[in-house]
Amino acid sequence: MSATASAPVSRTRPRESAATWPLADRLGLAMCWAAGMFLTLAAAGIVVFMAIKGVQYLKLSLLFEHPTAAVDQSQAGGFLDPIEGTIALTALGTLIAAPIAIAAAIWLSEYGRPVGLARLVEAGVDVIAGVPSIVLAIFGLIVFSKALFAPLSISTQGVASYGRSFLIAGITISLVALPLIVGATREALQAIPSHVREASYALGKSQATTIRHVLLPSVRPGIATGIALGMGRIVGDTAIAIVLLGNTLQNQPGSGIWPFDYLRGTGSTLTTYVYNNSPVGEGNAPQKAYAAAFVLLLVVLFLNYSVDRLARGGRQVTAWSR
């Protein structure tokens, strides 16, 4: 070691200045830099603009007042119902999507035989992920307007289905979250080294026991990440909420006992409220649209933050060497 230390050692040279680069490289670097700055500015612009507009028009009372139809906007109430609607629809969609998605991911990752069937399931998940939500919405309307599904929405004597309710929108919107939860769960399962599974088998445990008691606890952070991602997508979805939730100003319960009256009824979400109150909507009350959009943005930013935290936590927990 001492011999090499006394020899003239070529140290790392100071970073080469981009000024010495060929023109094409300098242009490329400038474009990459500009693209990054553009995205940052766009994100900052959205947040700052919505914050200024939102804070300007947001009053605490708006969060706790039912919306009413009125020409005079000061009499038109707040957006309590859309907030409720967003929470209900997100909860419903997530509760439907999560068990199906987790089960599908376990089957794909841990069983997946025959291979042809597994490919088919994978393709199915990919197709669902790729279908625009307005197409899902129209498809849901066709299917759930059949008399068979009359119990899911306000219906006339059970012979015709209105095809619009929290239940119907929830079932359809679960398809928006489903591929994200499948993907995150599969990725987490595949990140578990095979010797961890074998360690469980070597203790005389069956595959089912291993999945339930070893693999599922290990992938919990991955599942949570997928669920948070999915919730973000559901909260932000507009098309399905407009088409399948009935788009009523207030949440209108159907018949039946609580909570089924509520779930069979119609309503609106923050996204549809923003749409309707924007200049293109019939409400045309931009101030309220800004205030509601600001609340919506806060919800989505919070969900994104959760995703980040959960993903970080996941790396710590499953820290096996390979």
């Binding site: 080294p193 010797h195 961890v196 074998e198 360690a199 469980s200 088998y201 070597a202 203790l203 005389g204 445990k205 069956s206 089912a208 026991t209 008691h213 070893v214 606890p217 290990s218 927990v317 499953t318 820290a319 096996w320 060497s321 390979r322």
Partner: protein, 300 residues
């Protein structure tokens, strides 16, 4: 490089006399050796044949990995499987509790017996409770130290069994941690996450987990290769004590380790068992030229 000329004839080395690292306060102290072995059926002879491989051949998709191996596994002594990479020793080890069956392309011929009974006739989950395994990489489950062992103790999937309470399992968990020499380090916080332990502690937890269900044979697949020298010496001493209670088979690439801890060694080459004998004879007076070359470091 240490000379490999004939070292003085050695019988088993007293583990206390040969610390591979200087004594240090931070080195976990191993408890006193356990009292003389008494097997479960009351017999107390030191070595007894528990498993036997008869013409065992294992192939992966037509490629033969283990070829017609005959090998006994005795309780009361440590059997080391040595040989160059890819010689089939890990495959042979995994076949002893039918873990090779997890590889879809693997096929096995020949007979393996446990106490005279063909292991293919045993329920695979029962076999693996009797013949347990510890892997190269420490792999505690992402749960508490206690839960890792409780998982091993519970008999999942047995119909009509109620889930045992913690009060019933905890003494057994403590016992397993004691046998694995880990209790002094984790005794106060067995509810801490297992993945927060150091690598050596994690590996001893894996050994404790494997021991908890009182297996009769313990398979160790290079259990120290991912560990530092200190943890290695702690685990080697542990293996020396365990062989009194369970039959131990260890795969190792470390010939010095095989000399230190094994009583018998089996040298494998290209899927065949070349030599099986007491460890000092394999190292000092091997019969086959291949063995002589390998233990002298000529290849590997």
């Amino acid at each position: 490089m240490e000379s490999l000329n004939p070292p003085p004839p050695l019988r088993r080395i007293d583990p206390v006399r040969t610390p591979t690292v200087p004594p240090d306060a931070s080195v976990p102290q191993v408890p006193e050796p356990l009292p003389a072995p008494v097997s479960r059926d009351g017999a107390s002879e030191p070595t007894r044949e528990r498993m036997r491989c008869e013409r065992v051949t294992i192939a992966y998709g037509g490629k033969i990995a283990v070829n017609a191996v005959d090998l006994p596994v005795r309780q009361g002594e440590v059997l080391a499987l040595i040989g160059p990479s890819g010689c089939g020793k890990t495959t042979l080890l995994r076949s002893l509790n039918r873990l090779t069956e997890l590889t879809p392309t693997a096929a096995r011929g020949g007979r393996i017996t446990l106490d005279g009974q063909d292991i293919d006739e045993l329920e695979v989950t029962h076999l693996r409770r009797r013949v347990s395994m510890v892997f190269q990489q420490p792999n505690p489950f992402p749960m508490s130290i206690y839960d890792n062992i409780a998982y091993s103790l519970r008999e999942h999937g047995e119909k009509g069994r109620r889930r045992p309470r913690r009060a019933e399992l905890e003494p057994q968990a403590i016992e397993a941690l004691t046998r694995a020499g880990l209790i002094d380090e984790v005794g106060d916080n067995i509810d801490h996450p297992a993945l927060r332990l150091s690598g050596g502690q994690q590996q001893r937890l894996c050994i404790a987990r494997a021991l908890a269900a009182h297996p009769e044979v313990l398979l160790l697949d290079e259990p120290c290769s991912a560990l530092d020298p200190r943890s290695t010496s702690v685990i080697e001493e542990l293996i020396g004590r365990l062989k009194l209670e369970v039959a131990v088979v260890i795969v190792t690439h470390n010939l010095q380790q095989a000399r230190r801890i094994a009583d018998r060694a089996a040298f494998m080459y290209l899927g065949e068992l070349i030599e099986y004998d007491f460890v000092e004879r394999v190292f000092n007076a091997p019969r086959a030229q291949r063995t002589r070359d390998y233990v002298a470091g000529a290849f590997g």
